[in-house]
């Protein structure tokens, strides 16, 4: 139940984010979730899109360095403490979260959170055992 995320290397230079987003918009790719991690010199743009392969192709043609990585999309109750419940499971399972960010849209009453941990397979198992909803690639495409 892992989904694909596309990561893009960005220089901290005016207009580069805009250019990256334009490149994929031209191909009709929809962004479901997005975040930027940055340092003083460079940043990494991470996105969940409806068509990662097409996005990768468009970005590379525009001269960007990209990478497709696996992450998990978790359904979190849209109420106080919703996310904390999920993190508690991971903490007790001795799993480190590398990063997380949220989807723009909700799925019914649930918010969708993207998770990357130091052990994705174990994370999937633990969350499924705890009855947490995980989204598949097909789920994401049909959102």
């Amino acid at each position: 139940m892992k989904i694909k995320q596309i990561s893009v290397f960005l220089e901290n230079k005016k207009g580069r984010l805009y250019e990256a987003l334009t490149a994929i918009a031209k191909e009709g790719v929809n962004i479901r979730a997005l975040t930027i991690a940055d340092t003083s010199d460079f940043g990494i743009l991470r996105m969940i899109v409806n068509n990662p392969e097409l996005a990768k192709k468009a970005l590379e043609e525009a001269g960007f360095t990209t990478k497709i990585t696996s992450v998990i999309a978790v359904g979190v109750k849209d109420q106080p403490g919703g996310l904390a419940e999920v993190l508690k499971i991971l903490y007790e399972g001795d799993i480190n979260v590398e990063y997380l960010y949220a989807f723009v849209e909700k799925s019914g009453e649930e918010a969708i959170v993207v998770l990357r941990t130091d052990n994705l397979d174990k994370t999937v198992n633990l969350l499924q055992q705890a009855g947490v909803k995980l989204f598949s690639s097909t789920d994401i495409e049909s959102l």
Binding site: Q5, L10, E11, D38, D41, F42, I44, G63, T65
Partner: protein, 434 residues
Amino acid sequence: MYWNKDMETLSKEKLRELQLERLKRIVRYAYERVPYYRKNFDAIGLKPEDIKTLEDIRYIPFTSKADLREVYPFGMFAVPMSEIMEIHSSSGTTGKPVVMGYTKADLEVWKEVMARSLVMMGVTKEDIIQIAYGYGLFTGGLGFHYGALAVGATIVPASAGNTRRQIELMQDFGTTVLCCTPSYALYLAEYAQDEMGIDPSSLKLKAGSFGAEMWTEEMRKEIEKRFGLKAYNVYGLTEIIGPGVAHECQLQKGLHLQEDHFYPEIIDPETGEVLPEGQKGELVLTTLTKEGVPMLRFRTRDITAFIPGECACGRTFIRIERITGRSDDMIKVRGVMLFPYQIEKAILEVQGVEPHYQIILTRPHHLDEIEVQVEVSKEVFSDEVKSLEALRKKLEKRIEEAVGIRVKVTLVEPKSLPRSEGKAKRVIDKRGLN
């Protein structure tokens, strides 16, 4: 084994005496016969008789390749054309070529220094020597040819190119000595193996003299392994005489420079100051005996250093290190000399892929700063900030180890660095020094 034992093992004092006597003579000769030198001397009020010691050579203005181009074709000639027996020319990739004329005596000197070079690497009259340097205006082919004639070895004047035939000749004739550029030697080995199914180490080659381009110790090891021969460094340039200015002896610890005919200095390429022995800098050469086109303090642009101490082979002539760079490529940061290729090699070691990079020099607070921008390729890109940061730190550390000063590494997007004619402009100097 020496070609000219008396000269090659001459004591230092005797050698200095001989050099001084020859220097005084060539300076007067050049001043009297070549308007270019006369003009330069007169401009600073220098007279030939002001040169009283070898150290006084530093008062003489430098001669550059550009100076030689300006007087194309025969402006530097010191004798009438009837005295010139042969003409050579260095190819002009930029601007006009440089033309050199050799008198009968010059050709004798060339033959002498090339014979010494070949004997230095163990060539005898029993050897079959294949000369795969180009014959023609380029000095490589004929220089080796004259030396081999003197030694009495059997010459195979193959000239450059026609790789299959080169290998056939080596195999059928039993060539024992190969002379060509080091990159061509490697190509020959590869071609023999891959295209002809011939193991290059099965050939009879025992030694090779390689030069006319920059090469490394790693290449030497590779050539030696492939062919099962001993690979020697040869150094020379058309402006001075051609190959034969310096050559390695069988100890392979630097190139003996033929000091009775060529007077070497190593200078700081920026200031023109003569550097102390052992320090790396630009090689400057003065021809002590050349009649056709005497060269006073010619700036070779080649970076090397004198190797202090005596060589176990018994030759007293000073040794130079293999050429490690061109002064045009040199960057001086906080007094430290460095070359883009050192940085390139360091990045390659860390990344494992051919790097695209640019070096940016600034002087924000009266102190030089050096920044190396490295393009993040697909191969090294990681989704995580901490691994990119680790990569950046590793690059900084490895480059610092390679060049000896701290640098700042910045990761940049691919193709964000300018590329001109396939080769990127590697160094941007924003220090405003010029």
